[in-house]
């Protein structure tokens, strides 16, 4: 919960978070190391200097660290955990659902746990159809995070619009897993095409109107193509992870990205995210609440980033996706202080 100077209580959902283990013991050679080193460069480069962690802490943090950074110091009422497996880079995976579930177990009312699938796993693989059904049964997942860049058995990624993938989307519809978060980031298959291409989202969004496709990182680095698709397809949303930290280092870039997104998508299809632990949410929420669109962009795009728009982006939009009554949730959490091990209950 973020309280404005005039007492308004802003409900905050951090829509993209992880509880990962990238410690050297879990790394499978140079790929695991290369992965976390790259993340750490993002973290170090785009965080304010006083928010930069040590690499050791960044590689592996505890449930308690995460709860403090989000629920105590980060204004976050609820977070969505997005499972990312990377079994070829990490012995026990990067943040598979089992690891993420630890936070859910500790803070069941504050955590939305998402699963994932991989069409290359077929029926019985660890990310196959049966595992998806099992995740629904065990954790009641309403969403999945798809990482099309995942390496698997010599294949270096997959596309959303294949018959194999469609079997999984059909299963999602059946199971009521309606929120499909898609990472559009580093992927190197097919190597001969644009690996950040968002065109496959267009197909699945049309063919599965009952599902919502949240393109994480707003399709950055292909913002122009993403905006085009998200305008045509009402069930394509944008997640603000990775765009957010530019609010500190490059506020003008952030302003232009926001102006574009507000112009093309409007304020109802955008979700705030820190991408924790890539960045921590506290400073992002503070800066976003204080942020104003420059007048020249308001004029050029004919958009405004009003308090209502901020409120939607920070929490109400994600609440709508996941069927959460924000007022009831606020009331519930008010009576549920966050208790960290060995510490007195923190007032949130």
């Amino acid at each position: 919960m973020y309280r404005t100077a005039d007492g308004r209580e802003i409900f905050v959902i951090d829509a993209h978070t992880h509880l990962w283990d990238a410690s050297p013991e879990n790394q499978r050679g140079k790929l695991g190391k290369g992965w976390i080193d790259c993340f750490y460069a993002y973290h170090k480069n785009l965080s304010p200097p006083d928010k930069v962690w040590t690499l050791e802490h960044y590689e592996r943090y505890s449930v308690e660290d995460m709860a403090r950074d989000l629920f105590v110091e980060g204004y976050v009422d609820m977070c969505i955990l997005q499972s990312t497996n990377l079994f070829e880079f990490y012995h026990t995976g990067f943040n598979p659902i089992e690891r993420n579930a630890q936070l859910k177990e500790a803070f069941p009312e504050r955590v939305i746990l998402n699963g994932s699938f991989d069409p290359r796993h077929g029926e019985d693989g660890p990310l196959g159809l049966n595992a998806l059904r099992q995740a629904k049964q065990q954790y009641g997942i309403q969403g999945v995070k798809l990482y099309t860049a995942e390496w698997h058995n010599g294949s270096r990624g997959w596309k959303l619009n294949t018959p194999e993938a469609y079997r999984f989307f059909e299963e999602c519809e059946k199971l009521g897993i309606t929120n499909i978060h898609i990472h559009k980031g580093p992927t190197i298959w097919p190597l001969d095409r644009d690996s950040f291409d968002v065109a496959d989202v267009d197909y699945v969004a049309t063919d599965f109107p009952g599902l919502t496709f949240i393109v994480e990182h707003c399709g950055l680095p292909r913002l122009e193509d993403f905006c085009w698709i998200a305008t045509q397809e009402t069930n394509v949303w944008g997640g603000l992870a990775v765009a957010m930290p530019f609010i500190h280092s490059r506020p003008r870039y952030f302003a232009e990205v926001m102006a574009n997104l507000l112009y093309w998508l409007g304020p109802d299809k955008l979700t705030f995210a820190s991408d924790y632990a890539l960045w921590t949410p506290g400073w992002l929420v503070e800066k976003f609440m204080a942020f104003e669109l420059p007048e020249d962009l308001e004029a050029e795009f004919g958009v405004k980033l009003t308090m209502e728009a901020k409120e939607k982006i920070l929490g109400l939009n994600a609440a709508r996706l996941y069927g959460i009554d924000s007022e009831a949730k606020k009331e519930q959490l008010r009576n549920m202080p966050v208790v960290l091990d060995g510490a007195a209950p923190a007032t949130v």
Binding site: L31, G34, W35, D37, C38, A41, Y42, K44, N45, L46, P49, G154, R156, P186, I188, W189, P190, L191, D192, R193, D194, S195, F196, L220, P221, R222, L223, E224, C227, W228, F246, S249, R250, R252, Y253, E256, V257, N260, W264, P294, D296
Partner: protein, 257 residues
């Protein structure tokens, strides 16, 4: 024997296709070694996961551009900090194509040149958008802008002078040169009688269509600037710690209000 200045000039023609910027301006090039006619170029990409297709293109372009310098007998290109660097280095230095280097991952009928063209178009739109903005800011009406011919535009210091009637567009000279450079790469006319602003297919742009046309260009421009800034930042953080908090970017030249 080729000189370092000649090699650097050749390297300045090698672009990061996605960032539409020469690798020399991005700070990617680490070292050039010249031993008689044998040139070794070592460069670093900003992340371990930089798309290997783009990395391959850059390595190949280095090989080709440097190879054209008189006196160069052999070029060795070594890229660092990429998940597929070994494969890329071996492939490029053996003179193999991309498809030959990654036979299992690549559609053998596909062509990296198609990808290159896609990004050349984005770069074209971004550069064009900057120039049109400069002209609008200088008070030119859209119909005047869209009917300009190349011969109507002269560089004067940092500014452009349009005529007739004479009209000064401040600080637009570099933007014009960058735009013309891209027109040449796309084999669009740069003759004096050619329209200055055309679509990438060489067609004129109607005034009534300009707003719609520029909407896509505007986000393409922002996207390149955003990516450039991100990539430079990631490179500095890892390899130039003294510049870690320097958030300036060559992409800033695309950021005009």
């Amino acid at each position: 024997m080729p000189t370092l200045a000649e090699i650097n000039r050749a390297l300045a023609e090698v672009y990061d296709p996605e960032l539409d910027t020469p690798i020399t301006e991005l700070g990617f090039v680490n070292e050039v070694q010249i031993a008689d006619g044998h040139v070794t170029v070592t460069y670093t990409v900003p992340t371990f996961w930089c798309a290997p297709n783009f990395v391959f293109m850059m390595s190949q372009d280095i090989r080709d551009e440097v190879g054209r310098v008189p006196g160069v007998i052999q070029v060795t290109v070594l890229v660092r900090n990429n998940c597929l660097e070994d494969e890329i280095n071996r492939g490029v230095n053996a003179g193999r194509s991309f498809a030959e280097t990654f036979p299992a991952d690549v559609d053998q009928n596909a062509d990296l040149e198609v990808l290159r063209h896609t990004f050349n178009v984005k770069g074209f739109l971004a550069r064009q958008d900057v120039l049109i903005r400069r002209m609008r800011q200088a008070g030119l009406a859209d119909n005047a802008i869209l009917t300009l011919r190349l011969g109507d535009v002269k560089v004067q210091g940092e500014d452009l002078i349009l005529s007739p009637p004479p009209h000064r567009v401040p600080l637009a000279a570099a933007d014009l040169l960058r735009y013309l450079h891209k027109r040449r790469r796309l084999q669009l006319s740069v003759a004096a009688e050619a329209l200055l602003f055309t679509t990438v297919a060489g067609q004129s742009i109607a005034e009534t269509e300009l707003a719609t046309y520029l909407r896509y260009s505007r986000s393409a421009r922002l996207n390149i600037a955003f990516n450039t800034s991100l990539c430079e930042g990631l490179l500095r953080t890892q390899f130039f710690p003294e510049r870690q908090h320097d958030h300036s970017s060559v992409g800033d030249r695309l950021m005009i209000g």
